[in-house]
Symmetry: C2
Subunit: 186 residues, 2 copies
DNA sequence: CGACACATGTAACACGTTACATGATTTG
DNA sequence: CAAATCATGTAACGTGTTACATGTGTCG
């Protein structure tokens, strides 16, 4: 529902037409999440269907602006004041993947973890590099969000690895060739 | 694509039928992400359509197990070895919300941030409480993931607030004797 | 003129959600 | 017997993605 509400929030600043909405949406997050223009028009139709926006007559430039309705304003206000619960967010694919990797035979969880960490660290470096660039406050905060999330992910991956080490006897990590795998568990 | 790949990974352990898959999927993440049973059957149909699984004949118990195909095995392996990029994840609704709140007139960003923090901290407490309970490793790691993410979110929210303070002159920070309900909007 | 940005829209499709319909088996 | 659990499936709908079709205006 981010696009729906996002566009609605943009319309609260005044009437806008599709192309404008796409640009302002992308600008406000520094192009972090590109928005397909087609999506804008379908979303606007749905918003109109639900009574949150109203299409204005086509203007001189051949543009078709939309304006927000009172119902739309209520909806935006509700969106802003209602916190986002973790349970209502999409399933965390990475967590699912690792959880399943643990119990899938023939999968080396450690290499899964390591490949992910390498990728995430590269992303983190790119975000940090981008931070040197200057931009407006909204964009910088979005970027910071990515950074905080990446850091948390790396920490979690490290944590997974050490939890793993505690549960499964290390294979051939270093030259410690103890035959741990013979050990039995109660 | 988490369900699709999740079910496929479960099928790599052996043939399973729908109901079984639902249960194993939920168990492996400790019920963090409940899975609608209807979704399982539609997903199985799509997986079959795409050649990743094969329906087996109905057995004595009236169950209809599916088995993974070679193509399916390749797909699972690819899933496990390919890191998940941040760009390929769903848009971060919270980041979008805050970015837009900053430039939406009449929205008090600070209260948005605070409401979210309160909610997130409550969730974090609940996760921490759950950690006392015992469960298997996959579930504990999923829980840890939620904890790490919540902590990162709180850190980010704090960071947003202090960035905000640097940009907009603080209003009435300490003595909150203002009757909030009297406040007018431009 | 040709390329590019501006601007609107549709169609087909993917995944996911909810609700509904149906029946068998187990258990208090 | 009634209720709960097990088990399969379908229908309707929602958001989001991609690709396509179309047209105007501008600028080198």
């Amino acid at each position: 529902m981010s696009i729906r509400h996002g566009l609605l929030a943009l319309l609260e600043r005044g009437a806008r037409y599709g192309y404008q909405l796409k640009n302002e949406f992308e600008e406000s997050t520094g192009g972090t999440w590109p928005l397909n223009i087609g999506q804008v028009y379908t979303t606007l139709n749905r918003l109109e269907r639900d009574g949150f926006v109203r299409a204005l007559p086509e203007n001189e430039g051949g543009q078709r602006p939309y304006e927000i309705t009172d119902q739309g304003r209520t909806e935006v206000a509700l969106w802003f004041t209602t916190p986002i619960e973790r349970a209502s967010r999409p399933r965390d694919e990475l967590a699912i993947k690792l959880a399943l990797a643990l119990t899938t035979p023939g999968i080396d969880v450690r290499s899964v973890v390591q490949a992910q960490r390498t990728s995430t660290m590269r992303a983190l470096q790119e975000y940090t590099r981008l931070k040197q660039t200057d931009g407006d406050l909204p964009w910088r905060l979005v970027l910071d969000s990515m950074i905080f999330q990446s850091e948390a992910e790396i920490r979690w991956l490290d944590h997974c690895e050490s939890s793993l080490a505690r549960y499964t006897p290390a294979k051939t990590e270093q030259p410690q060739e103890v035959h741990e795998h013979e050990r039995q568990r109660a």
